[in-house]
Symmetry: C2
Amino acid sequence: MSPVTFEIKKRVHGTRARAGVIHTPHGDIETPAFVVVGTKGTVKSIKPEDLETYVGNQVALSNTYHLYLQPGDEIIEKAGGIHTFSNIRTPMMTDSGGFQVFSLGAAFGKGVTKFAKSDVSDQIEEGLAVYSKDLAESQGRLCVIDEDGVTFTSHIDGSMHRFTAERSIEIQHRIGADIIVAFDECTSPSAPYAYQEEAMERTHRWAKRSVLAHKRNHDMLGKQGIYGVVQGGRFLDLRKKSAQTLSDMDFDGFGIGGSFSKDDLGDSLAVVNDVLPEDKPRHLLGIGEPEDIVAGVHMGCDTFDCVLPTRLGRTGTIYIHTHNGTGKLNLRKSEYQTDLRKPDEGCDCYVCTHYTRAYLAHLFRSHEMLGAHLASLHNLHFIVQFTANLRKEILSS
Amino acid sequence: MSPVTFEIKKRVHGTRARAGVIHTPHGDIETPAFVVVGTKGTVKSIKPEDLETYVGNQVALSNTYHLYLQPGDEIIEKAGGIHTFSNIRTPMMTDSGGFQVFSLGAAFGKGVTKFAKSDVSDQIEEGLAVYSKDLAESQGRLCVIDEDGVTFTSHIDGSMHRFTAERSIEIQHRIGADIIVAFDECTSPSAPYAYQEEAMERTHRWAKRSVLAHKRNHDMLGKQGIYGVVQGGRFLDLRKKSAQTLSDMDFDGFGIGGSFSKDDLGDSLAVVNDVLPEDKPRHLLGIGEPEDIVAGVHMGCDTFDCVLPTRLGRTGTIYIHTHNGTGKLNLRKSEYQTDLRKPDEGCDCYVCTHYTRAYLAHLFRSHEMLGAHLASLHNLHFIVQFTANLRKEILSS
């Protein structure tokens, strides 16, 4: 039996929402859950004990691409795996590396996100589409995809590297997270239908190879579960086909990857989740603003990850509760220098009960690292609890 | 009775060393003790709970000059004082602002420290001596001293400000630390005898005015103790005279400030501490490398502060135990990338029991803030425990 299993505790009639538990070797994850991001084996500015005491997350995600380049998967394995190396004690996931190969390779600095801009044709004209080797090379960063894998340059020193399905899985075995992810190609939101289809079919072939590579490693097979990644861009028929194809493979859960249009995120997820097996967990990769999480949970997703809580925190922006939901507050605005109110008046986290807006504003204005730390703690607590509250609503519905 | 009192628990025969307890409104300080520095109302990268859990310091020092400029003493007072504003719950001290007016004013960027360089005449030739208005202005930063006080430019925005004894005490009343310090002039190590004497006499007049200003504020008199600062540079007769003059004033303790020659730090402290009243605590201002603390304790000093533990930590250097004492280790060296040993093999602090050199090296190479945080935690724990061990040695001698 796989070391990663899923149990549904409650379904909400009339929606796809469900509350469940993912069992992993490092503990249970009660879903819906927000997965904090620790790209390089550290949740930026926050040590693991702070996550346990002040955030309450149940799981963290690190990036295979980053850890492979620095410090290298071999030293992590030698240290006893990512949990020992990083001192993070909750369950952990690693992604496949596919998204970073793309976003830090040819698409870097082009403003490409997981959401298509309103006018996709503009993006194509601006050269954001990354389906041409010539185009990628002209940007000084290489990301060349062939049937067998991807050749790319490091964003750190420009050195050449190659990922294949087998290599991605090998690296993830060495890193040793509880949940690993099949190697996939993350296409640009602006890629046209023909390319999305081609890339998706290739991702399916890589998925099959990833499962085989995972099953060959008997040491890690009992310690790690593997997720497949549904692709297909913004095209619903491709999304459906991708979900169908991956459902037939031996995965313990599914990532839903690639790009969406913000307006029809819900539609895409509905199509995918109607096909994916109900008894396996579904992770929406790299998307996790409050409104996205609400939409995702409603459409049947179980877990979410996003760098925004810490990225916003480092630049002085915190999530807050508002009359009609959630909002953001930029502590760098001059008005907060003398504002002795709680950072988020609707929050009882450690930061909001021990500090004022004026103090946090002082830290950011003084370039004191503690500002980034405290704002990140609050933002992670905010989004983790926001998602946990959706679970409570499901359970009490 | 003053809210800050001192009790001697044990003296060591044949030396000036003593172990004692300083009683303050926010708790006791068992001496000898290292005072962690929180310049701007935050110990860089470390929240107060981390100090309590991982460092174990008993007292922290903030800088009047910095807090006055940003966020301003008025908002700190409005917030309920520095303890409420910063969430630091241990006893706190503020300095007088005199040292920063000097070191961030005319002397900024000239490499001036509390220790005279080996060849003092070189420093005078290089323009490090700051006893000429013209000289200071030629450096683009102003620091003009007159009988009544100091006019200086802010290191943040170049705006003009003025400190007098009364103003320094007023600001320190608003900040609200347990121990405040009389306004003093911190001279350059390279200033000649005549100037050192003139500056010292002026500091004595400011000390008298500081005590009077403190006594006039009945609200804070019961909440804060006040220290006078012994000056006199590297001249033993001036040091002795300064200690004698200040001993006759109504201070609760004494700071020993200004500049020393590293070789005769011990001699200076011996001369001063033989004169200062035995029943009052003595704080060596801004000096606190391990060897300095040993010398200071031996010569009868009780408390020490220094920015080095956090400054070194932020750049990847940690204190370590060596065969014959203490040393430093630079985690940025390439050899530590694959070194799975404890950061300091002779240390049982949180950092050394939960992380390897390889992980810390990875954090510094990846520009991850957690590296600075963990190295600072270790260094502060190291120096706080190093000083606490000197206390234990005295008590068990």
